[in-house]
């Protein structure tokens, strides 16, 4: 077979080239992934913290949340957000589907982040919690000033791989017609029949995005490292 990279300079029929389209699709992929990551970090941290509190109802809520969002395939969750939820709550019909996908992907990922945050908090010596309470801090203060600063640093490596997963998982948004990279790949492949070139470029962009996130997280890890901890450096 012969390569034909010029396919990217062809007009899509809408006054833009396939290259333009692909770059805008890349933007959508990154936007969905980053917004979903923010949702996932907030929801996942909250649920992870709930699961380590002494309060039984909070533990139950955290566990239920985690099991619910972990045991349904992402694609099915996206369909539920897209088809089921707006038809049950009318006001949500005005919300753009892109926002619904962000929540679907965010909540899906929050189940995994909740596991990691929980494990991070539980990996701290029990004495830390008691020490916080013993010097008169309230439970929320103990979390804020004693437990979480260490726990979050401990979970940075698993959070890095979750952040890279979220880029990969954002590809499932194709199913509800978000024009992100995978959607672009499928449509451009059909229109141009130059599938290999298109797929190679798209795969390359996924690599670059994941690699970029990896570097950012490594910088974060280095910035917040604690001296004296394993991997904490000097």
């Amino acid at each position: 077979m012969k390569w034909d990279w010029q396919v990217f300079l062809q007009d899509t029929g809408g006054g833009q080239t396939y290259l333009d389209w692909m770059l805008s699709a890349w933007g959508w992929t990154l936007m969905v992934a980053v917004l979903a990551l923010i949702v996932a970090l907030i929801a996942g941290s909250l649920m992870g913290i709930f699961r380590t509190t002494p309060s039984k109802p909070l533990v139950w809520i955290g566990n239920a949340w985690t099991e619910l969002f972990r045991n349904i395939p992402l694609l099915v969750q996206i369909f539920v957000w897209y088809h089921v939820i707006p038809s049950m709550f009318r006001p949500l019909q005005a919300v753009p589907s892109f926002i619904l996908v962000v929540f679907a992907l965010g909540f899906f990922t929050s189940a995994r982040i909740s596991e990691q945050v929980k494990a991070g908090i539980q990996s701290l010596p029990r004495g830390q919690r008691y020490a916080g309470l013993a010097v008169g801090l309230t439970l929320p203060q103990t979390y804020r000033y004693v437990l979480l600063p260490m726990a979050f640093r401990i979970v940075i490596p698993p959070l890095t791989s979750e952040s890279m997963n979220i880029i990969k998982n954002s590809s499932v948004a194709f199913a509800v017609s978000i024009t992100e990279l995978t959607m672009f790949a499928m449509q451009a492949q059909e229109e141009t029949s130059r599938g290999i070139e298109i797929y190679l470029a798209v795969t390359g962009l996924y690599f670059v995005s994941a690699f970029f996130i990896n570097r950012v997280m490594m910088v974060v890890e280095r910035k917040v490292q604690v001296p004296g901890m394993i991997g904490g450096g000097k």
Binding site: L75, Q77, A185
Partner: protein
Amino acid sequence: MNLDFSFLNWAVISSFVLKGFIFSIQLTVIAMLGGIALGTVLAMMRLSGKTWLVMPAAFYVNTLRSIPLVMVILWFFLLIPLLIGRPMGAELSAIITFTVFEAAYYSEIMRAGIQSVPRGQVYAGYAVGMTYGQTMQLIVLPQAFRNMLPVLLTQTVILFQDTSLVYAIGAYDLLKGFEVAGKNFNRPVETYLVAAVVYFVICFSLSMLVRQLQKKIAIIR
């Protein structure tokens, strides 16, 4: 809005959903067995210490693990017909894709499992006069397998969830079965909801079983 599940009787389930359910299970089981077999080979290659074996295995595993599964599914669906020179059904293409893809993930689990066995065990095997093959087969692998069994099963639950992504190439799986039923009766909301519940019940029960198993194994150790 009013939900109406009355159309979902046994006749509808058996004519639309069952076929997809069977395919999803089929895909999961074949990809699991094939993936574990291929994954073991890859793990052995990576642990062999010989550069010409380590490099290709590492390349295989790292490449597949950094590409979204949907893209891998699309790639195989595009490339297999080009290589064999004739079109291939979405279902068969999915089976090949998942076996190859899951092998990358299973191999990492196997590698971690084998590495979790203390090195002294290998030396002990050599010390009593066993060969490399005997040491692996009789001493290292049985312990490694016990260590990694829960993780292997958890990965299989994830694999079952991931099979829903064959949607990208239009293969007829469990989710597709529900979708087609929903379209036929113009009740998409209900069918997606039921699909979510069915997936949840299956995956949650399996996760619970894995957790039980994990406890049992932990006590023996």
